[in-house]
Amino acid sequence: MLSPCYALIQKARCYPYIRNAKNSYKEIEILHDNTEKVTRRDFLRGAGASAAGLAVLGSAGLLMKNTVFAKQAAPAKPAELLSYVKLDPDKAMETAYKEYLKGYG
C-alpha cells in the first residue's frame, strides 16, 4: 500500500495535472484513487512510522490528529491553514521522546 504521506503529496500534485490538462483522464483518476483510499488510521500509522525528529512524531502525530482529519470538516479560520487544537506540551514531549527511542533516531 502507498504510504499515506506519499498519497497526500500525490493529492497535492493532482491539481496541476488537472489544470494543465496534459494528462489523461485515467491518470488523474489513478492519482485521486490512491489518495481517497487513505484513511485516518492509515495516515496516523504512516506518521507514526515516519516521525524521526519531532517529536517529531510526537507532535506531528498529535497535531495531525487534531488538524488534518479531526477538524477537516470544519471550515478553517482565516489565520490558519489547518485548524489547530491546543495540545498538552508535556504529553507531546513524552510522545516525542518515546517515538525517538523506538528507533527512528
Binding site: S3, C5, G46, A47, A49, S50, A51, A52, G53, L54, A55, V56, L57, G58, S59, A60, L62, L63, M64, T67, P78, A79, E80, L81, L82, S83, Y84, K86, L87, D88, P89, D90, A92, M93, E94, T95, A96, Y97, E99, Y100, L101, Y104, G105
Partner: protein, 171 residues
C-alpha cells in the same frame, strides 16, 4: 515522511531532525507569514541556546549543553565531547530523545500561545555576531548567508585536521 531526517538527514548531520517536523507543522497551521516566521525563528534561536536535554526520564543525569547551532553535526559533536561519550552510545541516544521531547514541548507551547492570543512575540534571537558578519558579507565577497553563529566554524576554534599530528599522512 520524516524518517529520513533522522541524524540530520540519514546521519549526514545537517539540520537537527528534531526541528524538521515542528517547522512543517508550524507551516501547516499558521497562515500569517509574519507570525509563522516569528514562531519558526523563535524555535531555531531557542534551540541554539537551550541546554539540552532538559527531559531525562531515564534518570541518567546527562550533562545539559547549549550547543549554539541547529546543525546536527555541531549539536551532537558538541554535546558528545562535553559528555565524553560516543555518538553511538546509549547516552547520546537518550540525549537526542530528550532533546526531541524538549523541542516538541517548545513547539506546542508556542502554538498554544499563538492560539490563545492570535499573535506571537519571540524572545530568542540569533547570536549578535551574525548581524555583524552579514552587514558586510551578504553583498561583499566572500558572499554568504545564514543565521547560525559564524564563529563556530570561522573563529579561532576551527580545527585544521591537516595540521593534526594524529592525522599526518592521511591527506
Amino acid at each position: 515522511m520524516f524518517v529520513s531526517f533522522s541524524g540530520g538527514i540519514e546521519h549526514w548531520a545537517t539540520i537537527c531532525g528534531a526541528l524538521v517536523s515542528p517547522v512543517a507543522l508550524i507551516g501547516a497551521t499558521v497562515a500569517d507569514k509574519k507570525i509563522r516566521s516569528a514562531i519558526v525563528n523563535e524555535l531555531m534561536a531557542w534551540y541554539t541556546q537551550f541546554p539540552f536535554p532538559e527531559y531525562q526520564p531515564a534518570g541518567l543525569n546527562l550533562p545539559k549543553v547549549a550547543v549554539g547551532s541547529t546543525l546536527c553535526h555541531v549539536s551532537a559533536t558538541t554535546w558528545a565531547n562535553v559528555a565524553k561519550v560516543s555518538t553511538s552510545s546509549k547516552a547520546k541516544k537518550q540525549r537526542c530523545g530528550g532533546l526531541s521531547g524538549d523541542v516538541a514541548k517548545k513547539t506546542v507551547q508556542m502554538l498554544n500561545a499563538w492560539k490563545d492570543t492570535g499573535t506571537f512575540a519571540a524572545t530568542h534571537k540569533p547570536n549578535p555576531i551574525v548581524a555583524t558578519c552579514m552587514d558586510c558579507h551578504v553583498d561583499n565577497e566572500p558572499y554568504t548567508q545564514g543565521k547560525e553563529n559564524c564563529m563556530q566554524c570561522h573563529g579561532d576554534k576551527l580545527i585544521n585536521i591537516k595540521k593534526s599530528e594524529a592525522h599526518e599522512g592521511l591527506f
